[in-house]
Symmetry: C2
Subunit: 467 residues, 2 copies
């Protein structure tokens, strides 16, 4: 690649680093707004795939989604047909901010060259935490971040005679993979460092998740730090070891979270936050750089509840970032105002949701608060299929401002968190929430929606706590 | 009953007219805050039951709810055990505002007497529209407003050999009763005056409901005014006649709506609104009357979107009203700020939801608007059980303020309207909604929630429409 003729003809070039949700959404949206005569778009992706749903990998592994290609929203060919010069298996190895160019290497041939840009989008995603443990690279140990990871895991499952699976980590990926492996007929053990699974919830709500998972026949090992992944004579993993015990394993899945993939950005001197993610303004422009944008799992996002930056790797944010970046690069105007920290997940029929602050987040932010936990049902109690759910609400001491909601229940529980997500965004108090005009009919809700019941109790607690 | 000794001893008396949701919620909440030594509570109910879910009647008739008593949240005995002097089969026949007393008649004995009050709660509910048609009182013609109605209908169904049912009206009650009768094995015809069913939706969304109901084997007759309910030689209803046709019927269910039951209040000179409902302030105090409160289906409520009063008979509002009244009567402070017009319903597996303004409401309110209608799915497209849904959004011209949302879909569609209900309450724009941090995971939502997709399209329409 050499300096193209693009600039001479007045045509500008957008370079995108990373071909998944944020990068390709940005590219696609920019393309919608600017035709190829105005804007050349070059996208580099070091892997084989574009625009796929990493969030769907557990369901593919579990067999609910029939094949890898179902997770691909748009193929490389489709992107190319829309006038995006997509270069697969091409890894960007350097960003020259002063020179306005990136260096990229063909992964197969090793050839490297520079590509100049007028606008740059950094969408390098996140890298899985891979603890420095003996045996972590042994055959039979798998991450589940990429489609390649999913294929490798499925190949192992197809080969493995034993039926013992150990999942390390009990966050979203961990619990979703526990479900996937149960579906595949494995005996599943989840080994988790914290005292309860789902540390994105408060421990009292995490306990409900643990009890439900134990009820599904999953062995939950909490408060356990993994010390090694012992291997057998064949070199394959054979167990997960903690200080106190060893859990036999025919396959091990690592679900211990990710960190922003920002080594390129750091080397280029771009601004990183306390969580290692790129810092942007609300237009998703890298702070201090007019023509460099960043989005997806490699950036930090503004938490609208605390006003502080967080790292929340989630496909739904990545897509929004890409949309905003593409709009701005394409000459429009859009912003991503921030997040409230909403997440929803399930393990078998258990639904788990949260938004806003946990108790420890609130304390860390210096906020005083009350908590209210209630039990209700997804439908009118007399309606068939009404299932129990627990809703916990945090509201600020004195003001009653909603700070967070956590929900654990069965069918119909999880998406109720959206009520609280919108209320948090709007800065509502728990008391204001008690009057919300939510959809009511017996098949859909008790006459007081569980979120309203929690809001009533939180309101009462705020009053009792007084000044 | 004579003037009690209550007042002399400093004890006050709360009189409640109407023993269902609003009245008994008010009584119960007042009792929680004031013990019987401070506040005597007398509640008059002309029927046999208290605190029951009228909304649940279709599911009882349909057989999904096993019996009448399942619909009763709190029995007369339970209320009495909590220190409420509940008088069943006692109809209030007059309110003497100047004298601070109500006249009540024992329905069985015909005895009448006056009861003085310090505080009065009017919770007289709504009365079903019963059109003045030949045959409307014939055996086999049923309303479904009260438990007594439900029992009478079930008795007819048990007796009737024929399997042809005609439902008059295609609002919530009409479509829910269509489902109930289908479940009972009837051939169901729904005769509806409007051009499409569910006139709480715009006709383009109502059409989706009609098509789905036709797909369930229900005969939908639209644009048809009922002219008579012809009877047979046995005096029982045998058909529903319109100007153009006659639909044979072994049973007829009237689901044609209700009006506020405010004849008592009107006779007492209390203020009524344009829809015939009592007018209150936000504390649910009848306007101009310090010690008279009203709530539930007999009042008008403030529409927060238009700033105008509406009549929305719905159990969830009635319960909130009762809670607010009881708190205020009990010496606390609470308000009911108003509604945004949220409603959700289902017919078999079709979910129907709406909040805010329809096109005709917006026009009537003098608002210019854009509409956006999108199709999406309840879950990620690749996830099993992802079902299609249509979301229509109205946003104000120029400002983009959210005005309303309508949703028609299958499992997972209906309660998504809550997102819009909260956004309406908060006065959000469609553009602000595009950034909402809603719960995302493949089993719960596409990466862009359908409501967000609608918000994006509405935002684009607002921009296109320009100034």
């Amino acid at each position: 690649m050499s300096m193209s003729g693009a600039r001479e003809s007045g045509r500008r070039r957008l370079v995108v680093i990373g071909g998944d949700a944020a990068g390709m959404s940005a590219a696609s949206q920019a393309r919608r707004l600017k035709d190829p005569g105005e804007l050349e778009i070059v996208a580099f992706e070091r892997g084989h795939f574009t625009s796929y749903s990493a969030c769907g990998i557990p369901y593919w592994v579990g067999g609910e989604v029939s094949g890898r290609d179902r997770l691909i929203a748009r193929t490389p060919e489709e992107h190319r047909a829309r006038g995006i010069d997509l270069r697969l298996r091409t890894e960007v190895t350097g960003i020259d901010v002063a020179g306005g160019r990136v260096r990229a290497r063909d992964v197969d041939s090793g050839d490297e060259s520079w590509t100049p840009y007028d606008q740059l989008v950094i969408a390098t995603g996140a890298r899985p935490l891979r603890p420095d443990l003996p045996g972590v690279d042994a055959p039979g140990v798998h991450g589940v971040q990429t489609l390649d990871d999913g294929e490798a895991l499925l190949a192992t499952l197809a080969r493995t005679r034993g039926r013992r699976a150990v999942v390390v980590g009990a966050g979203y990926i961990g619990v979703e993979m526990a479900e996937a492996l149960i579906r595949r007929g494995y005996e599943v053990t989840v080994v988790n460092r914290a005292e309860e699974p789902m540390s994105t919830l408060d421990p009292d709500m995490g306990r409900l998740v643990r009890e439900a998972m134990e009820g599904m026949g999953i062995t939950m090992v909490n408060g356990a730090e993994v010390t090694a992944l012992p291997t057998g004579d064949d070199g394959r993993v054979r167990a997960v070891a903690t200080r106190d015990a060893e859990f036999p394993a025919d396959v091990v899945v690592l679900g211990i979270g990710v960190r922003p993939q920002t080594s390129l950005a750091a080397a280029a001197g771009l601004p990183l936050g306390g969580h290692g993610g790129l810092l942007t303004d609300r237009a998703m422009r890298v702070r201090g750089h007019e023509n460099i944008w960043a989005g997806g799992d490699c950036v930090e996002v503004l938490d609208l509840v605390t006003g502080q930056e967080r790292h929340i790797p989630l496909g739904t944010h990545a897509n929004k970032h890409g949309q905003v970046i593409g709009t701005n690069v394409g000459g429009g105007y859009a912003t991503f105002p921030g997040v409230v920290g909403t997440a929803v997940s399930k393990v078998c029929d258990l639904e788990i949701a949260r938004t806003g602050l946990r108790e420890k987040d609130a304390r860390r932010a210096g906020l005083r608060f009350v908590t209210a936990t209630i039990e209700s049902t997804s439908r009118a109690g007399y309606y068939p299929g009404a299932s129990p759910m627990t809703v916990k609400m945090l509201a600020e001491h004195r003001t009653g401002r909603l700070l967070g909601v956590q929900i654990v229940g069965r069918e119909g529980a999880g998406k109720r968190v959206d009520i609280a997500a919108v209320a948090l965004t709007a800065g509502m108090t728990a008391e204001q929430m008690t009057a919300l005009d939510l959809g009511y009919a017996p098949p859909f809700s008790p006459v007081w929606d569980p979120v309203l019941v929690a809001a009533r109790k939180a309101t009462a607690k705020v009053r009792e706590a007084g000044a």
